[in-house]
């Protein structure tokens, strides 16, 4: 960290050329540069092992970068960690608590170190995450989803400007995920910045304003969600009864891009607008090919993510929804 690079004033978290090499030589981050605009929800996406949690640990002062600079709320981390993190709340991997204490007692422990204002926020934080009526139960009896919500409640104790949440939807059921989405957006509406890493690509698309996609320790796309999605190749996926003949037929006409057979159907590059799509369908039907579906490609963050991952077998796509928790877990 020889010099502190210029950081945009509007960035509440700025990461510059951060490299992290673990003992043994594994390079987890390879020159990551990020700007998280203030007052937005920022999604941080990547397959398992891409370096998401490593970056979050560095941002929260839990781990040192090998090189590069991290500035949070205008203060360098880790040099000025106390000032930088004074109004930052976070969850890393999984929220941890004292299982023999109640949810309320756990929060009170942290609040005691933060000061009397934080102590006064304990009841409101618990209510905010809908744990008010279970707050006096021992945390050891909480489900995984309840512990996640308690983790968010703890993060709220400092009245944070910034919330850094690592896979916060883990362990939540679909109803819980929907509630969580509303909660996150309410934080952003209050002017807080939320930095969130997640495997739930459709959730990220619904919640986030900005997104960065990381692969093998490098950020490969970054910007407003709409721009990142729109930067994709476009095209349509055509479902039909004879994809091979359809591919041959569509090689000829001008205005169409690459024609590919990808195992899930025929992908036709180019025809993003409805009229062009209709022309493709008409051409196939007139040639006697039955068309059963036409879907835009790259119209969702998930498709754009898969496109950026390049179909590399070593980086399987994350699931669109979390797997159900095994029976009995978290109880």
């Amino acid at each position: 960290m020889a010099t502190t690079p210029i950081i945009e004033q509007s960035s509440v978290i700025a990461v510059r050329d951060v490299v992290k090499v673990f003992r043994g030589g594994r390079r987890a981050l390879d020159g990551v540069t990020l700007d998280v605009p203030a007052g937005t929800c920022f999604g941080f996406l990547g397959p398992n092992g891409a370096g998401k949690t490593t970056l979050i640990r560095i941002v929260l002062g839990l781990m040192r970068a090998t090189s590069g600079a991290v500035v949070v709320r205008g203060h360098e981390v880790p040099a000025e960690a106390r000032a930088a993190l004074a109004r930052v709340g976070g969850i890393v991997e999984e929220p941890r608590f004292y299982p023999y204490l109640s949810g309320r007692e756990n929060l009170a422990l942290w609040a005691r170190l933060m000061g009397s204002a934080a102590l006064g926020r304990v009841p409101a934080s618990l209510e905010r995450v809908a744990l008010g009526d279970r707050a006096d139960e021992r945390v050891g009896r909480y489900s995984m989803g309840m512990r996640q919500r308690l983790g968010v409640a703890r993060a709220l104790l400092s009245d944070p400007e910034v919330l850094v949440l690592d896979e916060p939807s883990n362990g939540l059921d679909p109803e819980g995920i929907a509630e969580f989405r509303t909660l996150i957006r309410s934080f952003v509406e209050e002017g807080r910045t939320v930095f969130i890493s997640s495997h739930l690509l459709d959730e990220i698309q619904k919640i986030c304003d900005h997104v960065a996609i990381v692969r093998e320790g490098r950020v490969i796309a970054q910007g407003p969600v709409a721009e990142v999605v729109a930067a994709g190749g476009g095209g349509v996926r055509v479902g039909c009864d004879d994809p091979g003949r359809a591919a041959q037929l569509l090689q000829g006409p001008a205005g169409l891009g690459a024609i590919e057979l990808d195992g899930r159907g025929l992908v036709v590059g180019g025809p993003a607008d409805p009229a062009s799509r209709a022309a493709v369908v008409r051409m196939l039907v007139e040639a006697g090919i039955a068309v059963d579906s036409v879907q835009p490609v790259g119209a969702t963050l998930e498709e754009r993510f898969l496109e950026l991952m390049g179909g590399d077998a070593s980086t399987p796509p994350p699931p669109a929804h979390p797997p159900p928790p095994p029976p009995g877990v978290g109880r």
Binding site: L62, V88, G90, W110, R112, L113
Partner: protein
């Protein structure tokens, strides 16, 4: 810092099962001591003239100081290791609090809790010493109570401190308890044997320092005993603090 110590004390005190077990064992040991002493006294008053008095208080101190090897190791290792073992330490470090302070506060907090666990037994021992028969000239005095209290406090600080340091160094409650107990119960007698090679080495064991500092014997001057005690308790604490400072949480 005081807020950090208060938080640490709450964290350990609320482990009620551990605390009640330790307090119960200490109490049972003292009750057992006086019951046996009283039975022996009733059976043969001439051979066992004192149950209470100064002798009773001395016996209370000796039993509690001995038990503290185990109680202190349990409470200390648990207090020293728990946060790292469960990774809850992340959420303390995230506040920007000094990691050295996070380790350092465990020592006074765990020692305070160990004293609390031993206190009921000490009070019962003092009460029994005051009311149970004692031969003439062996009556309970304030000096007896003070001396016994000092012995118990000293043992609590030394052995709990050792447990905290070892627990924090290993970051594992099980390993911390095992090593602390091994050092307390096996290491100390083994080290005592070193004096056979060269008599000044008798000052090395923590138990020797404890005897010197409580004034009940031991080898070597007080300043050496103090130094030895500081090294036994301080070295693992410093090691644990250095380890946590460098740790990637």
């Amino acid at each position: 810092m005081s807020a950090l110590i208060r938080v640490e004390i709450v964290k350990i005190m609320r482990r009620r099962a551990m605390l009640l077990t330790c307090a119960g064992v200490a109490l049972a040991a003292i009750v057992g001591l006086f019951v046996i002493a009283y039975v022996l006294h009733v059976q043969d008053e001439a051979a066992n003239p004192s149950v209470g008095g100064g002798s009773g208080m001395d016996a209370t101190a000796a039993v509690l100081a001995g038990l503290t090897l185990v109680i202190g190791s349990l409470i200390g290792a648990r207090a020293g290791a728990f946060d790292q073992e469960t990774r809850v330490i992340r959420y303390w470090a995230m506040l920007g609090t000094s990691r050295t302070a996070l380790v350092g506060v465990r020592l006074p907090a765990a020692c305070a809790v160990a004293v609390v666990a031993l206190l009921p037994a000490l009070v019962v021992g003092a009460g029994a010493s005051a009311v149970l028969p004692a031969e003439a000239g062996d009556g309970l005095s304030a000096a007896d109570i003070g001396s016994a209290t000092w012995s118990v406090l000293l043992a609590a600080v030394l052995w709990t401190g050792l447990g905290v340091g070892i627990g924090a160094l290993f970051g594992s409650t099980g390993a911390g308890i095992a090593v602390a107990l091994a050092v307390s119960l096996i290491g100390a007698p083994a080290l005592s044997a070193l004096q056979l090679l060269w008599s000044p080495l008798a000052a090395i064991p923590l138990s020797n320092a404890q005897f010197v500092l409580e004034g009940s014997g031991g080898d070597g001057p007080v300043w050496v005993a103090l130094l030895v005690a500081l090294l036994w308790v301080g070295a693992p604490m410093v090691g644990a603090a250095m380890r946590l400072r460098r740790a990637e949480l």
